[in-house]
């Protein structure tokens, strides 16, 4: 669907308006409000994140049914003890269905992947540039840890990103949360933005690698199809692709990296040594 067509769709008007509002608000709350201090999320990066979220949502909706069907068929294959029973007509039928659904998944992905790859790589590249410039070249190790610590007044609750590391969420939901995190970050929260920017960048790196692997797999599968070889059964390579797609798009089997949280604060004024840096 072309962007113009999407705008005409009544169903998409509300989310589009919401996203437009966030996009309009975010620069005011982040970079623009803080001036030239730490520019990790300029408008170009936010535009890239927004587009990646939209493309991810389209891909998810296109793949959800197919992957669910693939899961059911695979479960049936295992429950029917079909492994090594290729001669059984019932098992042969399930195998053919599995191969066909897998091809369907690859077909859908091959249609959506170019957009997804472009959006993901663009987000990764723009964040890469900002991270290198702002945290890599402008900061020393000491200023980096000062940035991460932030300058919080004594006794005030720490402002932290609510999302860290692999989230176990759908990709589109993750981008929605990234928006919220960036949008909620006001003054004195550059430490949070540095963590969020790093988190998104590493996610994009991972997604980019998976997309490249998937495109290779699509090429391989298409070649096999052209050679009239049926799949028969889900191979480990095919399973790895399915798992990878599920992990990135739907957050399944996602490992949540929990960071230790501070205990409730005592509220006492801490001793400050003249030796303290």
């Amino acid at each position: 669907m072309k962007p113009k067509d999407r705008c005409r769709s009544g169903r998409d008007v509300a989310p589009a308006l919401a996203i437009a509002c966030i996009i309009a608000t975010v620069p005011l709350l982040t970079g623009a409000a803080r001036g030239p201090s730490l520019q990790l999320f300029p408008t170009t990066v936010l535009e890239d994140i927004k587009e990646t979220g939209q493309v991810a949502e389209e891909m998810e909706s296109g793949l959800q049914d197919t992957i669910a069907r693939l899961d059911r068929q695979q479960q049936l294959f295992v429950q029917s003890k079909c492994e090594g029973a290729a001669d059984d007509p019932g098992c042969a039928q399930i195998s053919r269905q599995l191969g066909s659904t897998y091809m369907e998944m690859l077909e859908t992905m091959s249609q959506r992947l170019p957009d997804m790859e472009r959006a993901v790589n663009s987000t990764r590249d723009s964040l890469e540039t900002r991270l290198r410039a702002e945290l890599g070249l402008k900061m020393t190790p000491w200023t980096l840890q000062e940035t991460l610590l932030g300058q919080q007044p004594e006794g005030s609750p720490s402002v932290e990103p609510k999302l860290r590391g692999r989230s176990g969420l759908r990709l589109s939901q993750r981008f929605r949360q990234y928006y919220q995190l960036v949008a909620q970050s006001g003054r004195n929260t550059e430490h949070s933005l540095a963590v969020v920017a790093s988190d998104i960048y590493l996610d994009m790196e991972e997604a980019s690698v998976l997309i490249a692997q998937t495109r290779e797999e699509i090429g391989r599968a298409t070649l096999l199809e052209e050679l009239n070889q049926s799949f028969g059964v889900i191979t480990p390579e095919m399973q790895a692709v399915v798992d990878g797609v599920k992990s990135i798009l739907f957050g399944e089997a996602g490992q949540v990296v929990e960071l230790a949280g501070p205990p409730p604060g005592s509220g006492e004024v801490a001793y400050q040594s003249p030796l303290e840096w």
């Binding site: 988190d199 960071l259 604060g265 005592s266 030796l275």
Partner: protein, 183 residues
Amino acid sequence: MRNTARSVAAIAALLTALFAVSGCATTPAPQCELSGTRDLGASIASAKSRLGDGCVAHFDRYVDQLIDVAAGDPTADNKQAFSDFLLWTSDEGLLSRRQAQETWNRYFNVKFVSLRGDYNNCAQTCPVKGRVMADMQSELADKERGLLQAALDQDSYYRADRLLKETELVLEATCRACAAGGR
């Protein structure tokens, strides 16, 4: 007769040498063991006395022992006791001001002494990222002893713990970005 004289001379030389050696052994070596008290104030006084007697080479061991003593009676005041002790060592010229600062900050500050430097992260931190992270991990163990066990400062210790994890994530991303820029 001549042989007897030679033997007497040899025995005399041997005895002289023995006296000389035993004479050296009687020179008192500095007593560098700290008193066995579990009171931090008394232990610090003992450490000051020993350092004043020339046991400066034992300084790191003293700090280690003093932290153990403080952990036996943990209180927020222990931070100041260590700060005063380290300032004294600096004022007495036993340690440089920088050494005193490094020691105090290693045990009692949220910030990591291991993550310092005057050059940018791409140039300085990224090439040795693995070592920096290992050093920070080791320093966190010292902060656990200092902040958490000796000074009961849980807030600061958990913030240091989180800072380590955030640094790991941010350096992972930043160093990849630096490397990509060099391609």
